[in-house]
């Protein structure tokens, strides 16, 4: 691992810690942007250039900005609101996270890469395109995801739409009297 890489890793972990510990939500969101940008850089180093671009544009550019908007909109910059109803969770949270880290790293340590990996071609769009749009691979998944985005858009609009006044429900019609025959 090169020095740059070590630096990047350190930055990642540091910014992540800021995200989860910062008392100001705006700071946390900004730290997340920093984190995402560093990850994008790492992606470039890992021969995933198109993904890196997407990461910058979609994640750092759109998503986190959306977060910032919402924080502003709700005036929710203050992170520690109200009373902590589960004060006892702090210690288990740390222990549990540590345990998770432990088992994950242990799991990774037992894993070995194949001897001769394939070629990534730098993860450029030319390489990804045929895969993404090839009907034999991911095309249908892509269409589905597109549809999902559409649905999510509509859902978001519906969710934040101001409440309408619902007209009073119709009273059920008087129960039909049934004929009793002899």
């Amino acid at each position: 691992m090169s020095l740059v890489e070590l630096l990047a890793a350190a930055l990642l972990l540091l910014s992540a810690l800021v995200v989860v510990r910062a008392s100001n939500a705006v700071h946390a969101a900004l730290a997340l942007i920093a984190n995402f940008l560093v990850i994008a850089a790492v992606y470039v180093g890992l021969e995933a250039r198109f993904v890196a671009m997407t990461q910058v544009i979609v994640y750092a550019g759109a998503i986190v900005v959306l977060f910032l908007f919402v924080i502003m909109l709700l005036s929710a910059a203050q992170a520690n609101v109200g009373k902590d109803l589960l004060p006892g969770l702090q210690v288990p949270a740390i222990l549990g996270s540590a345990a998770l880290a432990g088992v994950l790293i242990y799991a990774l340590s037992r894993f070995s890469a194949p001897a001769n990996p394939g070629v990534l071609n730098g993860g450029l769009p030319q390489a990804l395109g045929p895969l993404l749009y090839g009907p034999e691979k991911w095309l249908y998944a892509l269409l589905l995801v597109g549809f999902l985005l559409l649905v999510a858009t509509i859902a978001a609009v519906v969710l934040v739409e101001p409440e309408r006044i619902v007209p009073e429900a119709r009273k059920p019609a008087a129960e039909e009297k049934e004929l009793v025959e002899r």
């Binding site: 589960l86 969770l89 949270a93 549990g96 345990a99 998770l100």
Partner: protein
């Protein structure tokens, strides 16, 4: 023996009467239903006689239910019964036209009566056990309907129900007996069974004697129920709740003898089974004695006769048990005459007294009822065994047969015969002798009631002569004729001297007891009885507490257990509901884990993730 469709017609005639009278009888004016019903029974009788004269008949539908035919046979045995059932039945039908006069249920009565005749003919003519069973239950139904004929009185309805239920106990025995025969012989046709079990007057080689014994015993239980033998005798006295012609026809002359007929018809099961036959003898003997003892205390004119019926049925069972099947049938025949006569004389007396049945309020009828007094006298003497009357000959035959079986049995039966003579005189004296103790204005019955009694009187006087002992007539009419249809062992005839001695002894005992009874019970009529006898009568009146014992030991415990179980069954459903709510409670318990804290769930997720990874890695 011919195949003819006329045979079921014998049954269909009264059945037709049942249907027609049941549906439209109420629209007919009074005597018409009775006349129609009587005519149909007469038709059956004549048809039966014609067919019998042509040497019998049979008719069958194969595989009526799989493996079981619907078959009828008219041979000498069933022929005799047809004569008794349709013949005596016809007389009683005619009698009932007078007796049931102006009853609102007149047509209903004759409809039921015809149903009874039809069912009884099915029973008698059936050549496969299930067909016999149809008749068997059919007569039970008719008996139930007729005992409860005046159903608005609770006691009548109760008696009817009791008769049906007690009979059903016996019927279960019949059913299970058929089960045994079916399982071991694969057929229920009587003639086929006879071929399989006793082809040549002997049990077939290699036959399963235990199975035959069991079947015979179970069928015998059926006979016990139908013929009101100990211990299922409790229904018969109560059955007197029905109109008197019913008691005469069903509970004296025909239906109750069905048990005896069953034993004779299936004698191929019993004749070679000393164990089972011993039980038949024992039950018959106990019943004969018990019935006779109970008759002494009764105050109801019909119940006296009813207990005498019990006792006489016991005689018939003894005869069947000792292997003298023709003698049993002989007694069925003579008993039908004199017992029907006794009942119908009782009916005439009841009729004369406007419905009074208590003998303590009778007496002196000799002066009021010039025809019925003869009927009553002949009936009582025949029952009591006055020499030369029909009852004497058949009873003597039974005594002779039991003497061959065992001297002790003979002695008990002789004592019973003496008791019979005594209580028959008690009946006669209390009803006809002395001074009238009631307040009605007795009047003789109309001709439609007396003429049948005339015929029965002739029967009671002379029917015995068809079955004379061999010392009197070397070959009597009945024995060889019946034995063509019965499987039995030939008995050594008693020496002539012994036979004469037995006849003499029973004649002397009967005469003596009749005379002593005649004297003794004039004291009762006058209300002067020894104290010990009064105490005995009290116990006898309550039939030695048989009903109380049954109620305490069986009926009440079963009823209360039914109540307990009924509630417990509701609890069973409650149990299922409990199971349901227990599941619900468990769910509620688990639901407490759902705290509603998002982060609590997240912590759960985290732990689960750790564990999953651990499992994945370690595996």
């Amino acid at each position: 023996m011919q195949e003819t469709v006329l045979l079921p017609l014998i049954i269909l005639l009264p059945l037709l009467g049942f249907a027609v009278l049941g549906l439209w009888g109420r629209r007919l004016p009074e005597p018409v239903p009775g006349v129609v019903a009587s005519a149909l029974v007469l038709g059956s009788l004549l048809l039966g006689l014609v067919l019998l004269g042509q040497g019998g008949a049979r008719w069958a539908v194969e595989d009526w239910i799989p493996g079981v035919p619907l078959s009828f046979v008219l041979d000498n045995l069933s022929g005799l019964m047809v004569m008794v059932v349709a013949g005596v039945g016809f007389l009683i039908h005619v009698y009932a036209i007078g007796y049931m006069h102006s009853d609102p249920g007149f047509s209903r009565f004759f409809s039921y009566f015809n149903l009874f005749i039809a069912a009884m003919l099915v029973l008698v003519l059936g050549d496969s056990l299930p067909v016999v069973f149809i008749g068997w239950e059919g007569v039970g139904l008719a008996s139930y309907l007729l005992i409860g004929f005046w159903y608005t009185e609770r006691v009548n309805a109760d008696s009817a129900r009791k008769a049906f239920i007690v009979n059903r106990i016996g019927d279960l025995g019949f059913l299970l007996g058929m089960g045994v025969l079916w399982a071991h012989f694969g057929t229920l046709s009587i003639s086929e069974l006879r071929e399989l079990i006793a082809p040549e007057g002997e049990f077939a080689v290699g036959i399963n004697v235990a199975a035959v014994s069991l079947a015979a015993f179970l069928l015998f239980i059926g006979a016990i129920g139908k013929s009101a033998q100990v211990p299922l005798m409790v229904w018969l006295p109560d059955a007197m709740a029905g109109p008197t012609p019913v008691s005469a026809l069903i509970h004296a002359a025909t239906m109750v003898t069905a048990g005896v007929y069953l034993l004779c018809r299936n004698s191929f099961l019993y004749f070679d089974l000393p164990d089972v036959s011993f039980w038949v003898v024992l039950i018959g003997m106990l019943t004969a004695l018990y019935g006779a003892l109970c008759a002494f205390g009764q105050t109801d004119i019909k119940r006296i006769v009813a207990y005498s019926t019990l006792s006489q049925l016991g005689y018939m069972f003894v005869a069947a048990g000792v292997g003298a099947y023709w003698v049993a049938m002989f007694h069925v025949l003579t008993h039908a005459f004199f017992k029907a006569l006794l009942f119908m004389s009782s009916g005439a007396v009841i009729h004369a007294l406007g419905g009074e049945q208590d003998v303590r309020k009778m007496g002196g009828m000799w002066n009021y009822l010039p025809q019925t007094r003869i009927h009553g006298l002949v009936g009582a003497l025949a029952l009591g065994g006055l020499p030369l009357l029909s009852g004497f000959w058949s009873k003597d035959a039974i005594l002779a047969a039991s003497y061959e079986y065992s001297a002790l049995l003979w002695f008990v039966m002789l004592i019973t015969a003496a008791l019979t003579a005594l209580y028959s005189m008690r009946w006669f004296v209390l009803v006809f002798m002395g001074k009238y103790r009631g307040h009605e204005h007795p009047h003789e019955s109309p001709a439609v009631m007396t003429w049948p009694n005339h015929v029965l009187t002739l029967g009671s006087l002379f029917a015995g002569f068809v079955g004379l002992p061999y010392v009197v007539q070397s070959e009597n009419l009945l024995e060889p004729w019946l034995n063509k249809a019965i499987v039995h062992h030939e008995h050594e005839k008693l020496p002539v001297l012994d036979e004469w001695a037995l006849i003499l002894v029973s004649a002397v005992v009967a005469l003596g007891a009749l005379y002593y009874g005649y004297r003794f019970f004039q004291a009762e009529a006058a209300g002067r009885l020894p104290a010990w006898f009064t105490r005995f009568q009290e116990a006898s009146l309550r039939s030695f507490y048989a009903d109380d014992v049954y109620n305490a030991l069986l009926v009440r415990p079963l009823k209360s257990l039914a109540k307990i179980l009924f509630d417990a069954d509701g609890g069973l459903l409650g149990g299922f509901w409990w199971l349901g709510s227990a599941t619900g409670n468990l769910g509620a318990l688990l639901a407490r884990l759902e705290t509603g804290y998002l982060r609590f769930y997240a912590a759960g997720l985290l732990i689960a993730a750790v564990l999953l990874v651990l499992v994945g890695v370690i595996r």
